[in-house]
C-alpha cells in the first residue's frame, strides 16, 4: 500500500518533534472547485459530446477527478449538482480507483486512456470491465470506491448544495447492468452492489486515478462541480507517547570544596 500509518516510538522526541509530526499529518491540498467536463465524445452517451458540462436526461458521462503523481491520501470529494438534481432511485454515481497500468476483467494489462474505440480492434480500452460481470469483478485491478443511486444525495434543496461524498452513505439496490456502458467506467458490466467510500479516505499510489461516472435519469440536464482534497504528505505519522517528556531539571547539591 502506498500510504501507511506509521507509529513511531517517541523515545527521542520532544514537544517540538510532536508538533512537527502533527503538522505533517494535518497538511492538506485541494484541487480547484470546477465543473466536470466530458473529455471526449466516447466518455459517455451524453448527446452534446466532448467539452461540455451538460449531462442530459437518460445519458451517462465519465471523466477523471484526480491523478496522483505521488503516493497520497484523498480525504475529501466535494460535489455539487446544479441546474437539476440527481436524486432519484434511477440516477447513479460511481467513483473508481484505477492503477497505472491496470488489469481488466479478462486479465489483460491496460493503460489508462481517455477515450476508446467502440467495436474496433482496441475496443476493450475503457476503464472498468469489458464483459458482463460486476464492476470491479473478475481479474480487474481497479476498485469501485463508491457506487450509489441518487436517493442519498442532498434533497433540500436538491441543487446547488456543496456536499462531501464521504458524508453520503451509498443506497439503493444493485446498480443495473449496463448503466455505465460505453463510458470510461465500462464498455459493459453486470449488476453491481452499491459501495460507500471508506470514511478513512482513499489511499492512492503514484499513478492512480480517480474516475467518476454519472447516469442521469432525473428528467433534466445536470451539471456538476467538484474538488478533491488530499493529504500531500504520504504517510500518517503517530507518535507514542504523543509528546515527549519535559526536560527534567538535574538535582542540585552544593559542591563540597572543603
Amino acid at each position: 500500500m502506498g500510504c501507511e500509518s506509521k507509529t513511531l516510538i517517541n523515545d527521542v522526541g520532544s514537544a517540538v518533534l510532536a508538533e512537527v509530526v502533527k503538522q505533517l499529518s494535518n497538511a492538506s491540498s485541494v484541487t480547484p472547485f470546477t465543473h466536470v467536463i466530458q473529455a471526449t465524445d466516447t466518455a459517455g452517451t451524453a448527446g452534446p459530446g466532448a467539452d461540455t458540462p451538460n449531462l442530459p436526461d437518460g445519458d451517462n458521462t465519465s471523466g477523471i477527478l484526480f491523478i496522483a503523481h505521488e503516493d497520497c491520501f484523498v480525504t475529501s470529494i466535494k460535489l455539487c449538482q446544479t441546474s437539476n438534481e440527481l436524486t432519484t432511485v434511477n440516477d447513479y454515481i460511481c467513483v473508481l480507483k484505477v492503477p497505472l497500468p491496470w488489469t481488466d476483467s479478462l486479465g489483460v494489462l491496460r493503460f489508462q486512456q481517455c477515450g476508446f474505440e467502440v467495436g474496433g480492434t482496441n475496443s476493450i480500452t475503457a476503464h472498468g470491465d469489458a464483459v458482463a460481470i460486476p464492476l470491479g469483478g473478475g481479474q480487474s485491478t481497479y476498485t469501485v470506491e463508491y457506487l450509489s443511486d441518487g436517493t442519498p444525495l442532498p434533497t433540500a434543496p436538491a441543487t446547488g448544495v456543496i456536499y462531501d461524498l464521504f458524508d453520503v452513505t451509498a443506497a439503493g439496490g444493485p446498480c443495473p447492468a449496463g448503466t455505465f456502458n460505453n463510458s470510461w467506467v465500462a464498455l459493459d458490466h453486470a449488476g453491481t452492489p452499491v459501495v460507500s467510500l471508506n470514511p478513512n479516505g482513499i489511499l492512492m499510489n503514484a499513478g492512480d486515478v480517480l474516475m467518476y461516472g454519472m447516469y442521469n435519469s432525473g428528467g433534466g440536464t445536470v451539471r456538476q462541480e467538484f474538488c478533491v482534497g488530499y493529504a500531500p504528505v504520504k504517510d500518517k505519522l503517530i507518535l507514542t507517547p504523543d509528546y515527549a517528556q519535559l526536560m527534567r531539571n538535574y538535582s542540585v547539591k552544593d559542591r563540597d570544596e572543603g
Partner: protein
Amino acid sequence: MHNLCVTTPLKIETRVKVVVKTKTLGFGSGARTDEAQVGAGSEISAEVVSQLNRALSVTPLMHIVQSSDGGGTNDGYDAEVGNNTRMSAVLFSAPEDCFVTAIRLCICGDIEFSATPGLPSAMCLLKVPLPWIDAAGNSQVLQVDGSDNPGGVSAHGDVAAVALGASPVATYSLEFISDNSPFIADNNAVNHQIFDLFDIPAAGTIAAGYLTDTLIAEDHALTNAQSLNPAGISLVRGDVLTWGVYNRCGAEIRVQYSIAYRPVKDELVLDPNISQSVISTSVDNRSR
C-alpha cells in the same frame, strides 16, 4: 522534506492569524538529553520547521466560470461577464484548515476594467463557513445556486438589507470589496496582466444591491470598501471563498484566477531560533 541539507539561511516568517495559529515551540524542551541521538533542538529541526512554514500549494490558472444559472446574470458555466451583468462563483473550498496567501487574478476584457463610462464596477470576495448563519439567523448550507431554492434565501451573503459583512448575526465574513478604481497600472492590474488581489487597496463605496441575485447576496445595503488582510486568509475546514463581480466598465470581461495556500495548518516558530548552545569553557583557577 527529502534530502535534508542545511544550505540556506533560515527565515521564519511571522504572520498574524486567527484560526491558523502561530505556535512558539520551546526549543530544546525535552531534547537536551537526546541531542546526541536526533539532534532535537538542532539545525535539522529548525530546517524541518522552516520547510513546513514555507510549504506551498497552488491551483492552476483558469477561467472563473459562473457556477449556476442562479449565480448571476449570466448562464451557468459561462466565463464571459457582459457589460452591466453580475457573475459569481466559488474559488476555493478548504478540505482542512489552511491559509490562503495569494489570489492571482487576470482580467481579460474588451476594455480596461477600470473604465467608468457610467457608474463604477465592483468586485467582492466572501469567506463562508459550513454551515453558515445568514443575517436573519437562519442556518444555511453552502450553495452555488442563488435563486432556485425555496424562499429565495439561498445565496451566500445577507438576505436582509444590511451592508455586506455588517450583520452581527451572519457568520460569513467580507474579505474584499472594492469599486474598479484601484484596478490600474499602479497596482499592476491592467488588462491581461496577472496581479494579486492582496496588492489591491480597496476603494470606493459599493451601492446597495450591487451584488444582489448572485452567490454574494440576495440583497444588501451600501457597503464600504474592504481590503484583504495582507497577512492572508485563515480558512477552517469546510470554508469556501466566494467571489463576485458587477461589470459596468462598458464591455465584456473574463477573469482568470489562481489561488496559493499553505497546506500546513499552523506556522511554527522556534524559540530560540537556533539550536544547540555552545558550551562555554574556562580554566578553573581555583586552588585545591
